[in-house]
Structures are given as C-alpha cells and as structure tokens.
Amino acid sequence: MSLIAEKHKNTVEEAIEHLISRAVNARGLSGSDISGRVWATLEKYLLRDDPNAAHTDIEEFVHEIRADDLCLIVACERGDERAWEDLVANFDSTVKSAARKISSNTEDAEDLASSIWAELYGLRTDADGKKKSKLAYYSGRGSLAGWLRAVVSQLAVDQFRKQSKFVQIEEDREFENLANEASAHSGNGLVSHSDDPELLLVNKRTSDDVTEALSTSIASLEAEDRLILKLYYFDDLKLKDIAATFGYHEATASRKLVRVQTEIRKGVERALREHHGWTDGEVKRHLSETAAELGISFETMFAALIVLALMQDFVMGGVL
C-alpha cells in the first residue's frame, strides 16, 4: 500500500463502513467487498491531483459516493442474480431511451441497447479468461443512470467508427466535392461573389485572416471559457445545461458567455491589426461583412469536415 494510502487507511475504512451502513440495500456486501473500488475512485479523482488531501476531504469524498448504486454494481460483478434483475428492471428504460436519442432509427436503437447490456454483462473475456465487463469502470461518484448514458454515447461512437471504416473513402470524396462546389459556385458568399479572380482572391484572404484571428483568440481563452464557448457554439448546448454542469446559475453562464464574446472580439481585432496589418476601419468593416457573408455552404462543409475528423480521431486514438 502506498504511503498515501497508509496515511488515510483508517479514515477510508471508517468511511467505507459508514457507506455500507448508508445503503438502503447493501446486498449482503461488506466494507471489504467495496474497499478496492472506493480506493480506486479516491486515487482517480482525489489523491492523484491532491496527495495531501485532508481527512475531512476524504471523508466527504467517500460520503458523496452513491452507496446503493455502487453496491448494486459490485453485487452484479459478483454474480448476484437478484442484483442483475434489479439492474435490468430499474435501468433498462434508461438505456433504451438514451439509445433512441442517439440512434437514427428504432432498429439501431434496439441493437445499441442490446450491445450495452452485453458489454455490461461482459460477454468478452480477457487473456486470463475473466469476463471483461464495463461494470468495473463505475466508481459510484456519479449516478448510475448518468454513467449508463455516457456508456451508451461511447458505444454509439464505437459502433459508428466500426461502420465508418467501410465508408471512409466515400466521405472523403464527398468532402472534396463539397469543397470544389464551394469554391466554384458563385452563390457561395464567403468565397466568391463574382468571377473576378482578383476579387475572389481578396475575399478569400480576408476570410482566412478572420478565421485565423478567431482561432487564435479562442485558443487564448481560459479553459473554462473556451469550454463554455465550444459547448455553446459548436455543440449547440443550452446555457441552462452548461450552467448545471459547471455548478452555477444560468444567468451566471450567460454573463460568462458575454464576457467571452468581448474577449473574442478584442482578440480578433488585435490579431487582425497586429498580425495582418489591418486598420481599425478595415477591421470593423470586414467583421461586419464576414458576419453577413458567411454562407450556408460552409455549414455543409463543416458537417462533412466534422465527420471526417471524428473518423480520424477514433481510428487513431480510441476512446475508453
């Protein structure tokens, strides 16, 4: 046992015993049955980033673990049939609902839900012959329903990644077609308004400068501001949901967003002036024109670009 663990051993053991006593249905588990899980959670979320955490922080951390959900999952891992029945009975609707929202049709949703239960039960075995179940990754820190939704999302991406391997070429071609169409079509406000090559070149360079300044400005934001901006503008999340995730009121999230917009504007203007030699008048005029001129074709290009980027990421990186 590490030094950190030795230091907090008594505190953790007492907190684990209290956790068992808090559970409405401990399912016959004892402190020793869940001790390993609790220690892993402590290491992952608390002690790794704060080795010198106080005893009160550790007690509070263990106290906030959801006792009933954790005992249910641990009992399922140990093969408790009654626990499995309760898990399926209580959370099958959650899994199916999440699958329906992610999938494009009912069949895919049912397949996805079935895959989730298979992954949870652990149909696969490792090299030692032990069942590989996703249940082992649940820490009890968040709710079991939230964890299941996250698992559904990940599995959906995995399934999409597997399927996309077969259509990768087609999507690349589609992206190329979209790009050619965007560059050649006269209706594309961003790229071209006329057939004048010089004018086309000027417009393109203007847009590129703005895009680059925008990227630079976003990168200079604080992590929280950057995440809020991306969640709101790139992922189309509501301020209410963003505020709930960050733990403050929706009005606070709105004020933060406005502050981010102000910083973005300052950063873009500064970048255009300093890095691209624009005057103040040019900055104001071109920002207005850019806001008005950005056309629909870029949304289509963006969607294709996102799909391609996702494929590349999941193939190269893997998520789990």
Partner: protein
C-alpha cells in the same frame, strides 16, 4: 460596466465553424472514460479533478462531444423524469379537509337521511299550522260577534248591554253584600270567585253571596274557557239539547261548590271592599244616555253581585243564563209560556226577591223560571 451581447461575434461564431476554428485537436493526455464524463456532467467531481478534466474537454473535441452528448441525455432525462416524480405513488398525497369530508363512508346515505328527516319536520310544522290556525279561527268565531268580548278583570264598558253580559270572567261570583241592595248601587268591578250555584236545575239559592274576594283573583280562579258555543249573531239560537244541559249542570255544580267554599271565607271582606269601591265605580264615565248608564250600572251590579260571566252565559241567583237573541234565558227554561214583567212595575215588585235580584244583576231582557213559572223580565 455591464457587457452587451455582441451580435457580430455571435454570428461569426455560429456560422464560421470552419476547419480553422473548430479544427479537431488531439491532446496528448488520454481520453476521458465514461465514468469521468458522467461525473463531470453531473458536477460531482472534486474541484481539482474538475479543473483538469475541464482543460482536457476544452481542447479535446471528441471527449467534449461525448460530454455534450451525455449532458444532453441527462438534461432530457431530467425533463421527462420531473412529471414522473410528481406521480410517485410512494409520496404522501395531501388530502385537503373538504376532500376528507367527502371521503366519509356512507356520506351519501347519511345526507339523504338528513334531508328526509328535515323534510318530515318541515312538513309536520306546515301541516300543524293550518290546524292551529283553524282552531284559533274557531275559537274566535265562537265568541259572540255582535258584542265585543273583553277580557276579564278590567272589564270595559260596552255600549251594548249584552256585551257586558257576555264578558263573563272565568271565575265569577255574585257579590253577596251588593246583591242585598236593591237600589242597584253600582258595584265595583270584581273578579269574582266561583259563584255558588244551585244544586237543582231550576233551583235557585236563596241568597247566594259570592263575595268578591281580592284574594280570589285569577290566581285561584283561572280564566275559564268558554264552555258553550257562542250564540249565533242574528239567527235564532237552537235550544240546547238534554246532553248539553246535563253537562252544563255538572259544571255549574262544581262551580257552586267552589264558590261556597270561597264565600265562607271571604264574606265579610267582600262586603267591605264592595262598599269602598262603590263610589269609584260610580265615577266611571258613561258612554251615553240614561239607558247606557243603567246598562253600565247593571253591568257593575252584575259584577258586583257575583255574576259569573263568560262570553255567552251568566250565573245569577244560583241560575245559569244563556244569552240568545238578545235575551238571557234561564237554562231551566224549556220554551213554556212566559209572563212579561217590566222592571219597576207593580208586577215586578210583586215578584220574588230572588227574581228581582236576578233581574237587577242581569241587565236587559231575561227569561227566568221560578216555581215552575216562566217570567220574561224586561
């Protein structure tokens, strides 16, 4: 200074999700697992861990998209779960006091029974009223209509002599001392005791003195109800039947016995009171001419001599008289021929003193039977 929403930057950020801006960035740190994503989305991570994951999500687009999708699923689940929580059957259902009232078992039957009960009570009251009203009407109709019936003790003078005779009190006695005076000295108003009546139908006591006893007031002699039916106003009255006569005689006997008992006690006192009150009575205003005065005096006399009056009968000299067609008939009179005698005439003076007293006590025309002879004294 409050910042304003920047519409231009907002439009640029919404529209320009170009590759340069939203370019997929891969980070060196490992991707976030489902447990961390769920914990972050539910805001249950410690502060330090939260900041670290926040930095990763801000730069790692795949993990950020996973996070945003999980946040969307959680948000939608919370929205759909909100009404279901309200429908939780385990939660206690608040029952208001009026709902509790209507949950009383057999409330409908109880209410129906109450309605029936009250309806019965109301109906009974409604039906009882006409009956009472009819009885009251009959009682009113029983009183003689031409004379105004005046209650007992403060006897008012009426212009009609018969009315004064009809206003017989419940308990009435003949004034013993005043009866003795043939001068028809006005006698004070008295509430008399029960007059002593003759035991025999046609008999009349020699001297019946129904003393007026102040003590013999309504307390001892409550007002008597009208025993007989009131006389018809204009039509001729039928002769009372034998049964009626018998009943009247029995009642008279009872009255006589009570009057005798009272007389023996209050004889002397009544005389004194009668003498003292005589001037007062004489001072009473008259309502008209000499006849009226005489009528008034006769009335007072009758009262003072212990005439028991009620609305249609009188008792005097141990006899009972019934008022019919303006004439006071002796109950013992059965329609035989009468001898007409006028008051003050020689023939009147020849009459028995008892008859003269009776005539003096009862004003108006009387038909009295004495010694198997009927006299009509006018």
């Amino acid at each position: 200074m409050e910042l304003e929403f920047d519409k231009e930057i907002d439009a640029i950020l919404r529209k320009a999700r170009v590759g340069g801006v939203a370019a997929v960035r891969a980070v060196d740190s490992p991707h976030v697992d489902a447990d961390a994503i769920a914990a972050f989305a539910e805001n249950v991570l410690p502060d330090k861990a939260k900041r670290l994951y926040m930095a990763h999500f801000a730069d790692c687009d795949p993990c950020r998209r996973m996070l945003s999708q999980t946040m969307t699923l959680i948000s939608e689940a919370d929205v759909t779960a909100a009404p279901s929580v309200a429908k939780d059957p385990v939660s206690p259902v608040l029952v208001t006091w009026y709902e509790r009232l209507f949950r009383t078992p057999n409330l409908a039957a109880a209410m129906g029974a109450l309605v029936l009960t009250f309806s019965g009570i109301l109906g009974y009251m409604v039906f009882q009223r006409p009956a009472d009203t009819a009885v009251g009407d009959q009682a009113k109709a029983a009183k003689p209509q031409s004379p105004a019936v005046v209650p007992n003790f403060n006897r008012d003078v009426s212009t009609n002599s018969s009315s004064s005779a009809a206003n017989a009190s419940a308990a009435n006695t003949a004034a013993a001392a005043n009866v003795a005076s043939d001068d028809a000295v006005p006698q004070p108003e008295r509430s008399g005791n029960i007059p002593s009546g003759g035991p025999s139908p046609d008999g009349e006591p020699e001297e019946r003195r129904s003393e007026i006893s102040p003590a013999a007031t309504p307390a001892t002699e409550p007002a008597r109800p009208i025993v007989s039916a009131p006389p018809a106003p204009a039509a001729s009255q039928p002769v009372p039947s034998d049964d009626e006569k018998k009943a009247e005689k029995d009642a008279d006997k009872l009255k006589d016995r009570a009057a005798d008992a009272a007389m023996s006690k209050t004889d002397a006192a009544g005389e004194d009171v009668a003498r003292n009150d005589a001037p007062k009575a004489a001072k009473k205003p008259s309502t008209g001419g000499p006849r009226n005065v005489q009528m008034q005096q006769e009335t007072n006399l009758g009262a003072g001599n212990g005439v028991v009056e009620n609305s249609a009968t009188k008792q005097a000299g141990g006899k009972n008289f019934v008022y019919r067609n303006g004439v006071w008939y002796d109950r013992t009179y059965h329609g035989e021929a009468t001898t007409n005698v006028k008051r003050g005439s020689d023939e009147f003076k020849k009459l028995d003193s008892t008859l003269r007293k009776i005539a003096g006590s009862i004003g108006g025309t009387i038909v009295v039977v004495s010694k198997e002879k009927a006299y009509r004294i006018q």
